[in-house]
Amino acid sequence: MDQTTLNIIVVGLSFALYFGIAIWARAGSTSEFYAAGRGVNPVVNGMATAADWMSAASFISMAGLIAFVGYNNSSFLMGWTGGYVLMALLLAPYLRKFGKFTVPEFIGDRYYSTTARIVAVVCLIVISITYVIGQMSGAGVAFARFLEVDRDLGLFIAAGVVLVYAVLGGMKGITYTQVAQYCVLIIAYTIPAIFISLQLTGNPIPGLGLFSNMSEGTTGAGEPLLVTLNGLLTDLGFNQYTEGTSPVNMALFTLSLMIGTAGLPHVIIRFFTVPKVADARWSAGWALVFIALLYLTAPAVGAMARLNIMTTMWPQGVEGEAVAQEDLPDWFETWSVTGLLAVEDKNGDGRIQYYNESSEEMAAMAAERGWEGNELVTFNRDILVLANPEIAQLPSWVIALIAAGGIAAALSTAAGLLLAISSAISHDLIKSTLNPNISEKSELLAARISMIGAIAVATWLGLNPPGFAAQTVALAFGLAAASLFPTLMMGIFSKRMNSAGATWGMLAGLLTTCLYLFTYLGWFFIPGTNMLENTASNYLFGIPPASFGPIGALANFVVAYLVSKATAEPPQEIQDLVESIRVPRGAGAATGH
């Protein structure tokens, strides 16, 4: 059986599973549509949260980001998991106790202000739409590569699949579909990693293999894997894998990812689905267990793939000859077709030299040995995980599994985001502001129609991705860090925080973050309109735009504090509300909306 047929069978089976679950878990009420009827077991919810949170970026891109940078990019590992500590300790149990359906709803009620609620809706939509563009186009690329269809057709298939199970099932359907998707994606991620770890170190657990010795018959047999990798990298003029450059920037970027993670609305709403406050706490822990299974494997996948690539390019070590062009493995050819991988024999010696051409030492060596620059001219970091089974020469069913896993990661996150968007529209805009007398049945219909609308917009944006999509990801994290997180936290931990303080604080966080990003990346990301060039020497205190989230959050806190000090304290019933959010007792009863 050829690879494409096998891919279609495996991916098709996984879709059949998702559809079956969607039909079984159809939502009949708004409570089921928005919060899965609040009956989800904390372990199940943890698994669904893990699938919801781990997007195409975690599954496909993260290992590649770590592989090509090494220690410095540990920020992604710590940042994307450490946010769960903040969420579990500072937000999840209290928002569950509050007992409503959406994040803007909490902000609107706690700060007794429709303005605050609308500002929160705007933040939520910007954050979620940005994410969804990436997920939809990621799923489109995965379909295109593995099913050998047109990229646009791939995107339509992805949209169709999400449409069926998200619109039908709402939060209830999504929850159980995400559980299935988690199983698919974690199996797909770990199986190749286990094989590769066994090949290189003999250790079946990749996370431990990373710190083990190389096995017999491999390059550097007997010495630790990381020592071998560092040695190969420095021989070719790259930085050591385990060395860092700027600790302060790394700490700030990590903090930015942590606060951003804790403020992401589509993850926060998952904690509304469990029966009790105590379950919300456990559930955050379980979510991190399931996320950690992938995140502890990812650094091993990154380091091992990098090592495999280096030994592929230099089969006899750096002192020997580079790989001959006709000896390049098959996966080079497969991936060259996609344009994500390219080699160019610059000096025409029939071999492909891969080295760091910007290193002076290497330039001297290159001149001596007749090389004319690095000949592995393109290596897209995203192909690392997808091509991993091919790199390690694993059987074809493993490749089919990776296809299903990548698609599951993208679709589960897209579904969660689309739900967050549609509930903000139907619940926070239509029900709360435009038509408060809407019946539950009509609201459910409105929720489904806004979901279809959101999918249509996401598909259109996926087909015509705006040039700024990549940069708005930084904006989305910065925005979540600077606007939603501090406002939610102050709503719980400060009884004195009032409507004016929260609104001005949110605006301050929002505007400083946007202003800082626009200064370097252009007004609304239009190229050429930036006021300062996007280089390290121009940054305020050397802070790169992507790390600005914590500063925006600080601006939010400070402004909110000062404004609230200068204005009247919140009314008594709001102070009582805060008091009641803080104690778990009685969460089951509070569902009025």
Partner: protein, 85 residues
């Protein structure tokens, strides 16, 4: 709402627990893995040092333990103050 006067004691016990947990959270990630890494450079782990391990795996494991510890302690505090469900 309008619960017993012991709500203040309950809330300060909660704040204390959260503070301790966040100190550890910051120490393992920003501390051991990044800013204080040179201090740990003498401790070798599998071909590199302990700071690298904390950056790539250790802090994630500590985060996990922290959340479960918090959930367990918090449930106990809930019961002691009679605000559990």
């Amino acid at each position: 709402m309008a619960e017993q006067p012991n709500n203040n004691a309950y809330w300060s016990a909660n704040i204390r627990l959260v503070t301790y947990c966040l100190v550890i959270w910051a120490l393992v990630s920003y501390g051991f893995a990044i800013l204080l890494r040179p201090l740990l450079s003498g401790i070798a782990v599998g071909g590199t040092d302990l700071g690298f391990w904390f950056a790539q795996q250790g802090s994630i494991l500590v985060f996990l333990v922290l959340i479960f510890f918090y959930a367990w302690r918090m449930n106990k505090i809930d019961r002691e103050h009679g605000v559990d469900e």
